[in-house]
């Protein structure tokens, strides 16, 4: 580790309740910090708005996946039954669309679900085995019962001493530097 160049990723403060974290996050944004991120063991209402994250493309991509799945489903059946392999079944028309609804429906749901899951993972940039926040030893509590606020070094207002003092002023229990190893 020592030979590796390590640079500062940010400063992280630890809180024991979601309310403290939410209040601290709001104050950090009010103080002018832009690149802040909060980490919690369960979803906390209002926290993503507090870090400045308002809109996600997941629903839109899910809709696209659903529409795409449905069109693929119907198109496939139409093409198979009317163009590629037309057979007369009890005198029904080749394009007997009511019979194609169940498969169209299933493929709509399948397309939408696949897009919902994989767009969530992709937009979250998962899988991502390494992230600097994991270098903080206490961060393993973030998946149990502790709540963390990280102000990142790329923030224009970031200053190690100043930002650490700021987090302490918000009554963070522990303030740690987050190192990024390159």
């Amino acid at each position: 580790m020592s030979e590796r160049r390590s640079q500062l990723f940010g400063v992280m403060g630890e809180f024991s309740t979601p309310e403290d974290l939410l209040a601290a996050t709001k104050k950090a944004r009010e103080a002018g910090y832009k690149h802040v991120e909060a980490y919690t063991p369960f979803p906390v209402e209002g926290l993503s708005e507090a870090v400045g994250f308002k809109w996600t493309a997941v629903p839109l991509l899910t809709l696209i996946g659903g529409v795409g799945g449905g069109l693929t489903g119907f198109g496939l059946q139409y093409w198979v039954a009317a163009i590629a392999y037309p057979i007369n079944i009890a005198g029904r028309p080749y394009n007997s669309w009511p019979a194609f609804i169940p498969v169209t429906f299933e493929l709509t749901v399948l397309g939408a679900s696949i897009f919902a899951v994989f767009s969530m993972l992709a937009l979250n940039k998962l899988p991502q085995p390494y992230h600097p926040v994991f270098n903080v030893e206490r961060f393993s509590q973030a998946s149990t019962d502790k709540f963390f606020l990280c102000i990142e070094a790329r923030d224009p207002k970031f200053d190690l001493a100043e930002t650490s003092r700021f987090l302490q002023s918000l009554h963070a229990q522990h303030v740690n530097e987050v190192k990024d190893e390159e």
Partner: protein
């Protein structure tokens, strides 16, 4: 009944979670079953026994592949037999898992939190067992890919007007979506296990599976969005799956099958048997792993109420089948209805009425709903009853077709029973592995529940 309201009389309802739990205590309690608890002799013996049964399944399938479907009791006219009875039974059992995880989620029902994870696992394993039956029933399972549309050198394509092809799409979509829903739900818990893992191999496995989940506010935002959408998608999906399964029957012109009541009554029956199976699994599990504080008596009572309600819908379905047979005046339908009461398989029909309609009426009594041994026995009876229902539907209709010259008899062979018992063993073995390998209760959702409970229940589930 989200647990927020006061009961009449002004007293607080029982909590969904034993009081006094903290974020750390729920996390410890659930994750320790996976991470630190040693394998007990009971688990090992149980697993060894179930493994033996799975070997019986392997033998039965191996023999089937060697000799063909003639080793089963099926014949002409009864081409379906146990394979389809078991298929419909297993797929129905899976439906309760999706109902709990998706529909109760949309309805903000807090009591789903402690049972959704293992109910979803139950869904997956039940769908796996279900899928096996039509696959081996084809007689040449290595040709099963013919059912999927692919550009074959023979230039032929599947017949999309056939309910059997709809079934292929419905069941494979259901299996895929259930798996994704389950995995998304597990993701934060896998990260918890990664962070708490004591041994190197646990860290590597859970580290890889959790994919670097950090629980950041942005992660959670997208996660919740995807989870809600999946719940919204799984809800119509689960209704469509058993509807399509019922189309396998209802689209045919066979007497006793060709009725419009089939889709809703199949869906209700599926949820009925599924909740019975959730109880069959939850009652021993909460005892064995000391999870009574999470899966409380109130949860069991709630499930009993759902069973009672869906059981009544099923009873209504049986009644309407009879009513329509006589009301239509169709002589084949009337004859079939009478065959259920007086034919050679009448004992199965009466057993079905006893198991599915009469016994569950005891659930009207609170004393019974809160009596754990009684609930356990009743869940087994309902599972049996739902199996009999599918047997009655498949066998009586096929043995009493339009022309007496086409009538027949059906009796299962030892290989039919070996295959069925084998899937029961496979299902239970997978549950055994799941309980010790993954958190059987959703930890992050339990932490959320602790949070809501400590804030006067103002939140959503």
């Amino acid at each position: 009944m989200s647990g927020d309201e006061k009961l009449p009389g002004g007293h607080e309802p029982e909590p969904w979670l034993e009081p006094g739990h903290t974020y750390a205590s729920v996390t410890d309690k659930i994750s320790s079953v996976v991470l630190t608890r040693p394998l007990g002799i009971g688990w090992l013996l149980g697993f060894a026994f179930l493994f033996g049964i799975v070997m019986v399944l392997n033998l039965a399938i191996g023999w089937l592949i060697t000799k063909g479907v003639g080793i089963w009791g099926i014949n002409i006219p009864i081409g379906w037999g146990f394979a389809i009875v078991n298929f419909v039974w297993w797929i129905g059992i899976g439906h309760a898992g999706t109902l709990i995880s998706a529909i109760l989620y949309l309805l903000n029902q807090k009591w789903r939190t402690s049972i959704n994870r293992f109910a979803e696992a139950m869904t997956l394993f039940a769908v796996a067992c279900a899928g096996l039956f039509p696959l081996i029933h084809t007689g040449r399972p290595w040709m099963a890919y013919y059912m999927f549309p692919y550009p074959s050198t023979m230039g032929i394509w599947p017949q999309f007007r056939s309910p059997l092809i709809w079934d292929v799409f419905a069941v494979s979509t259901y299996g895929t979506v259930s798996l994704m829903f389950w995995f998304v739900g597990l993701l934060p818990d896998l990260a918890t296990l990664r962070d708490r893992a004591k041994t190197r191999w646990q860290q590597v496995i859970f580290g890889a599976l959790s994919m670097g989940w950090r629980g950041s506010a942005r992660h959670w935002h997208r996660y919740q969005s995807a989870y809600l959408l999946l719940a919204g998608l799984a809800t119509p999906l689960v209704l469509s799956v058993h509807t399509v399964v019922s189309f396998d029957f209802a689209v045919g012109i066979v007497p006793g099958w060709h009725t419009t009541i089939f889709p809703p009554y199949f869906v209700a029956g599926a949820i009925y048997s599924g909740f019975a199976m959730v109880l069959t699994l939850a009652i021993p599990m909460r005892k064995a792993y000391g999870l009574e504080g999470f899966i409380t008596l109130r949860h069991l009572e709630q499930m009993a109420k759902v069973m009672l309600a869906t059981g009544l819908i099923v009873a209504y379905g049986y009644f309407i089948e009879f009513f329509m047979a006589f009301y239509s005046g169709n002589k084949f339908d009337v004859f079939l209805a009478k065959q259920r009461l007086h034919g050679p398989y009448a004992p199965f029909y009466y057993a079905l009425i006893l198991c599915n309609i009469l016994t569950p009426q005891l659930l009207w009594f609170k004393k019974v709903r809160r009596n754990i041994p009684a609930l356990f026995v009743m869940s087994l009876i309902i599972n049996l009853g739902m199996w009999l229902e599918r047997f009655v539907i498949v066998v009586i209709s096929l043995t009493r077709d339009f022309m007496p010259s086409a009538w027949g008899r059906y009796s299962a062979t030892v290989w039919d029973y070996a295959t069925f018992v084998g899937t029961l063993g496979l299902f239970t073995m997978l549950i055994f592995l799941f309980v010790r390998g993954l958190p059987a209760i959703a930890i992050s959702e339990m932490r959320e529940l602790v949070h809501q409970d400590s804030h006067g229940n103002e939140g959503h589930s």
